[in-house]
Amino acid sequence: MTVTVLLFASLADCVGARELALPYEPGDTVASVRDRLTADHPRVAEFAPTLLYAVDEEYAEEDAPVPAGATLALIPPVSGG
């Protein structure tokens, strides 16, 4: 079972991917999945203070659960318009 992680803009450039499948672990939260990604890509830590998170297209806090098969989006500060 996996969790899909979506990356955008500067964060996608940093990681070198727009979408990753990470292994799911029971009890996963936004923070635990992000920290697993950071273990592989240490520079993600620099982004963490300004990231917002969305689980299955709903904004979520760091302690929100991430179910198996869910999509976690890591959202840098937006700049549309």
Binding site: P49, A54, E57, P77, V78, S79, G81
Partner: protein, 151 residues
């Protein structure tokens, strides 16, 4: 309610017609346009990235809030993605209402909230480099230490 995030060119006429109502005497249309400089630096072009499904969801929620808050007839939001040249339109926000004051107020509010909340990003490309811009109004920036936010 017309809400769209698309790589296609944006059509102002489509946004206007989407909000036109027999009982609405006023329509305001805002266009965000790619300009040739930012902070004194010559811009060659922009590249917009987006999380399209969530951006549309966010824009729809904000447009619905604007309709209620300002008593609008309707609202429409279109945002373009991909590479945009100088002078091209990146954002269209159209609102209609019985009278004009509500349209100016609602247009201003809706554009501000979209820039602040919708998951869309722009990269400036210059002759000698490029950079993803972090919006000074972005919600995410509220979490950053002041030192990271710049001026």
């Amino acid at each position: 309610m017309l809400i769209r995030v698309t790589p296609e060119r944006l059509d102002p006429g489509a946004a206007i017609e989407a909000v036109r109502r027999d009982e609405a005497g006023a329509i305001d249309l805002f266009l965000g346009v790619v300009r040739n400089e930012n902070k004194g630096r010559a811009v060659d072009h922009l590249v917009y990235d987006a999380y399209p499904s969530m951006a549309e969801k966010t824009m729809r929620a904000l447009a619905e809030e604007a309709v209620g808050r300002f008593g609008l007839g309707d609202a429409a939001v279109l945002h373009r993605t991909g590479r945009l040249e100088i002078g091209e339109t990146s954002l269209l926000v159209a609102v209609s209402a019985g009278h004009r004051e509500a349209t100016f107020e609602a247009g201003r509010w809706l554009v501000h909230e979209i820039k602040r909340r919708a998951p869309v990003w722009k990269k400036e490309v210059w002759a000698d480099g490029e950079e993803w811009i972090e919006g000074p109004e972005s919600l995410g920036m509220e979490r950053a230490p002041a030192a990271m936010r710049g001026s």
